[in-house]
Symmetry: C2
Subunit: 197 residues, 2 copies
Amino acid sequence: MDKRELILNAMQELLKEGNAGIASVSDIARKAGIAKGGIYYYFRSKEEIIDELVDRQYSKIISDCRILVEKSDYKPPDKLGLLLRGYSSGVVDKNLDVYLHSQENAYIHQKSLAKILMELSPIVTSIIEQGNKEGDFKCEYPKEYAEIALSVFTFLLDPGIFEWSKEEITNKMKALANILEKGLGAKSGTFSFLYGG
Amino acid sequence: MDKRELILNAMQELLKEGNAGIASVSDIARKAGIAKGGIYYYFRSKEEIIDELVDRQYSKIISDCRILVEKSDYKPPDKLGLLLRGYSSGVVDKNLDVYLHSQENAYIHQKSLAKILMELSPIVTSIIEQGNKEGDFKCEYPKEYAEIALSVFTFLLDPGIFEWSKEEITNKMKALANILEKGLGAKSGTFSFLYGG
């Protein structure tokens, strides 16, 4: 394994142990079994390590989702459900989540939300385009609809930004299903998977 | 003027001068014409001052918007346009914006986005409800629709989080108009004010 991977894995271990916040670069080096100077050859700071770890984790999940969707022969609306389930079950180290939601890490958190939106958006867009072709949807703005829907997931439903009750979240999902069904010209009930209906 | 106000105004001055980033608590005290200890009587840190300044500015803008909307006898779709124009023209100290978009201030920035959404949401909701009553709209989820639309403005269109071209922004506004018109059951073109159409 190359040293870069060793460092990222060490950081991930520290996160799992709940020690990421207090860990110094020396602690990370010790965990990775390399010299402290070796870390600075690859990363400028602990933040940069976390940053890349976040990137790596989300990229993996999202690329798994992409493959899952591409391989399936589901109809477009069901593909969106598949994507949501795939993404939710892939996500994510609970510890990374806790770390990202702490005040000092707001910048990395914000970048990760933007990254998730940007990487999921082409997958959702291509599903909407397929739905347009096959007659399930009728949508002039597939890319923008994808981004609007993903803004709800990445921002409005982020538990580090807002605090909603279970019931409030269900209502938001019902409303999202409702606005997407109308917007996409899909049958009523098409997006009931969003609220477990 | 009470001391709290003097401190907030001093901070605002420093922002205008572009010195907010480097200013120390002593600098703020000097600007405000009070003793450094006097600051700590009201605020625990410079961040807390900025935080409250952000709060004060947005609260003022949003309450102006609320009054503007309540006083107008526009029809509900036009009220939404009025709200958008009122908000855009109220916002905000360019310097505060620059400050909020710097990496170290990501947490205050994120809190401000959530706050804007939470405070604008009841205004938008009540306009949608009025539209429901008067027959302009037909929407089962006024509150949630308001939040979805506001997520687009506060998150997807935030220039500190994403970098979009002018054309991309116009397309997002066209898509938002499109999904709102369909979702609310409003006439086509009702929301053309979103993209200057």
